[in-house]
């Protein structure tokens, strides 16, 4: 028999899942959120999302010198997540700069997928927030008009005073139902708790997120809100602003969050505490971005301090 046999180390079976399939699952999870954004803010939301994704993917393809624009899908996820944190109608170049910063500084300066310390989308968002604050915060929010897909002109880059509205985190007077459905001013992907939860359930059942990070994050935000202003305020803090988007989709980014079960809880709680400290005592109305980025930096330490007990380890000490 002169057939060549392949020899390799066991196991000889591999799960069908790969990085690309994980990223596609995340994109699928974000689909209801994206759909809701278009439903609330019109076609202009779609334009922002497409710019962010395409620029992110092209930037990554150039860096990796690959013709396959989609690649492992992680750039598309980064772009879409960045768009989700932006107001409905920033100038196109602000979106593009955000995507380039996310991919170049947030991701590839650290060595690309798997090696980045900070969530790339939030790096992009943070740079935009400090560099062009007028375009991504302040008087940029509009009151969504469901079903009116042309509430914003597709080409419009700024929002006129006529339609601006204050963020629910500035006013603290939105109804909880509006916050749940998403019919409040806010970033593209943060307003609708409903859509965010639907996508997260999908991710949970696909095995890509577990309850620990979102549980710790949302739990501590609720508790701190509750202590600050009662039950309603606790719920308000969870639903308003970027907590759900951050807790379910950003903090759960695999690369930049801990691996260990206890580490995940600590990480989630840490994100929530920083978020609430900024909200309650800081000068900015919202603290999710910096809450997560700060905890990203602590992830390696958290992992190292929370390596779980091995099978059989406890019993040995008992014996």
């Amino acid at each position: 028999m002169d057939r060549k046999l392949v020899v390799s180390s066991s196991p000889h079976l591999r799960s069908p899942e790969d990085i690309q399939s994980v990223m596609v699952d995340v994109l699928v999870a974000l689909f209801p959120v994206a759909l809701m954004a278009v439903f609330l803010f019109g076609y202009r939301a779609l334009v922002t999302m497409v710019i962010a994704m395409v620029v992110a993917m092209v930037t990554e393809a150039i860096i990796l010198r690959k013709k396959d624009i989609f690649g492992d899908g992680s750039a598309a996820v980064t772009g879409l997540l960045l768009a989700m944190t932006l107001p409905p109608s920033p100038p196109w170049w602000v979106v593009a700069v955000g995507s380039v910063v996310a991919i170049v500084i947030g991701k590839h300066l650290f060595g690309g997928v798997g090696n980045n310390i900070f969530n790339p989308a939030l790096v992009g968002r943070a740079v935009l927030a400090v560099s062009w604050a007028g375009h991504v915060a302040g008087d940029v929010w509009i009151q969504p008009v469901p079903f009116d897909l042309t509430v914003l002109s597709v080409t419009r880059t700024t929002v006129s005073d006529a339609v601006t509205a204050a963020s629910p985190l500035a006013t603290y007077d939105a109804s909880l139902l509006d916050l749940f459905i998403g019919t409040v001013p806010g970033s593209l992907g943060e307003t609708s708790a409903l859509a965010l939860i639907i996508g997260a359930i999908w991710l949970y059942f696909r095995g890509h997120i577990d309850w620990r990070i979102p549980g710790g994050f949302i739990g501590i935000v609720f508790i701190m809100g509750l202590l600050d202003g009662g039950f309603t305020m606790g719920v308000y803090h969870v639903l308003a602003g970027g907590v759900l988007l951050g807790a379910l989709y950003m903090a759960t980014d695999m690369v930049t969050s801990p691996v260990t079960p206890i580490g995940k809880i600590i990480f989630g709680v840490g994100c929530g505490v920083v978020t609430m400290v900024i909200r309650m005592f800081g000068t900015m109305p919202e603290g999710v971005t910096f809450g997560i980025l700060l905890m990203n930096a602590l992830t390696p330490i958290i992992d190292n301090l929370t390596i779980p007990k091995k099978f059989g380890e406890v019993k040995k000490n008992d014996a």
Partner: protein, 459 residues
């Protein structure tokens, strides 16, 4: 009543999550047992020549006790162990010893082997005769029978059985567990044994219990083999006499049949890290070993053949064959209609822990539980991506080890770091590599780390 939230369903769900009858971690690969699960065991064609390696167990090798030119009979001892942790090997045909020289071995390096040209007669060795019934055998006699029959763990680890039957005096064994989990995908040898040799398995278990003075016997079977569960239940209720024996249905999950996981699932006991099952008063034996013990008692038959599953998409006629020790795999493959055109990989054992072979010119040994032939689509070389820290390896690890960190430490040559993360506790089940979306060969790196750590400890 009924519906998804019925009490029964909730209880079932709770049992699946919380039941003792499994362990934390593990994976659910595609089991692919359908190739051979329904095929009864048949005898392989008697080989015209056998090549019997003198080292077929964990522990010390054997010395040949025959010489070139000798006539040997079926079941005659041809290799005598050189140490306590070792087991003799036997002629699996009658005929003439033609050569004693190193030959290919499933574990990799060539090993001294006895070549026997069969005379086609299968003349049995005179020493092969029934011993006494179990009731009349003493503990010492049982241990001697296991030792003299060359019994080793037939699950694949090939640890000599008589060593397991001789725990140190300060250790008392209260439970013997028979491993019928057969969690490796594709393999069905144990499944068929439980259907066709159920009585012998129970008898063998009782022999082990008597030898160890164990009060309790447990037969653990994954619940994807309901027919085997039924068969064993029946055999136990008919054959157990005054012995306390239970059949446990285990959650179907790889590696449910790993020693420590099986003990956890059936008794709730956790074997301490680095220790043997006897540390928690348990001894494990594979169903095949139980059958071999019974045959050694009832027939005086030493271990010179075993059931092997020949399976996979790359073999023309999958089968469960009784294969004699030293039969060349090429011979077995030929009997099963040969490999298909797209066959690309030969594995001895199962797909998760089995060893890929560079050649079909390798003999079947005591530990050969399966001959698995995989095709083109299984051998695709996957690019290795950086770790994305998804943690699926840690979730899947039955030992609860951070395989990603151990793997990366080993990849970077930081063996001390790998050791600190728990490399030495890995028993190489392969769940981490299986589940890794970045296709990182984690268990391979961990094996390298284990090798280097062991070497540096010896210094």
């Amino acid at each position: 009543m009924g519906g998804i939230l019925s009490i029964q369903n909730i209880r079932k769900g709770v049992n699946q999550c919380m039941s003792e009858r499994t362990f934390v971690g593990g994976i659910h690969p595609s089991y692919s047992k359908e190739y051979t699960a329904g095929i009864p065991i048949t005898s392989a064609r008697p080989p015209s020549q056998v090549i019997i390696p003198l080292h077929q167990n964990i522990g010390a090798p054997c010395e040949p006790v025959v010489e070139v030119g000798d006539e040997v009979k079926l079941g005659q001892k041809i290799g005598e162990p050189k140490g306590f942790v070792s087991a003799p090997v036997f002629a699996s045909v009658s005929g003439k010893v033609t050569k004693i020289e190193p030959y290919n071995h499933p574990l990799g390096n060539p090993v001294e082997a006895v070549f026997i040209e069969s005379d086609g007669q299968d003349t049995p060795f005179e020493g092969m005769e029934p011993t006494k019934p179990l009731e009349q055998l003493t503990v010492d006699e049982l241990k001697t029978i296991a030792k003299e029959a060359g019994l080793v763990g037939l699950g694949g680890a090939t640890f000599p059985t008589h060593v397991k039957l001789a725990p140190p005096p300060e250790t008392s064994i209260d439970t013997v567990i028979i491993n019928g989990a057969e969690c490796e995908p594709f393999l069905t040898a144990d499944h068929r044994l439980m259907l066709e040799y159920a009585d012998d398995i129970v008898y063998g278990l009782m022999a082990f219990m008597k030898a160890l003075g164990a009060k309790k016997g447990i037969i653990g079977i994954e619940d994807n083999k309901p027919d085997a569960l039924q068969s064993m239940e029946k055999a136990v209720s008919e054959g157990k006499g005054e012995y306390d024996i239970e059949v446990h249905a285990l959650h179907t999950k790889y590696p449910q049949g790993a020693e420590k996981m099986l003990i956890k699932a059936t008794t709730g006991r956790e074997v301490p890290t680095g220790a043997l099952p006897m540390a928690v008063n348990v001894v494990n034996q594979n169903v095949g070993t139980a059958v071999a013990m019974t045959e050694a008692i009832k027939l005086g038959k030493p271990l010179y053949e075993r059931v092997v599953t020949i399976t996979g998409p790359g073999i023309s006629q999958p089968a469960n064959l009784m294969v004699r020790n030293g039969t060349l795999i090429s011979d077995i493959i030929e009997q099963c209609g040969g490999m298909t055109d797209d066959a690309r990989k030969l594995i001895l054992g199962g797909p998760m822990m089995g060893l890929a072979q560079p050649s079909t010119d390798v003999p079947a040994i005591k530990g050969t539980s399966g001959v698995l032939i995989l095709t083109e689509e299984f051998v695709e070389e996957l690019p290795i991506d950086p770790c994305i820290k998804c943690g699926k390896c840690l979730e899947g690890c039955p030992m609860n080890l951070p395989a990603n960190f151990i793997g990366s430490a080993s990849e970077m040559g930081k063996m001390d770091l790998a050791e600190r993360y728990g490399a030495m506790d890995c028993f190489e089940c392969g769940c981490c590599t299986y589940t890794c979306p970045a296709k990182r060969p984690l268990v391979q790196w961990i094996k390298i780390a284990k090798g280097e750590i062991t070497a540096s400890r010896k210094k």
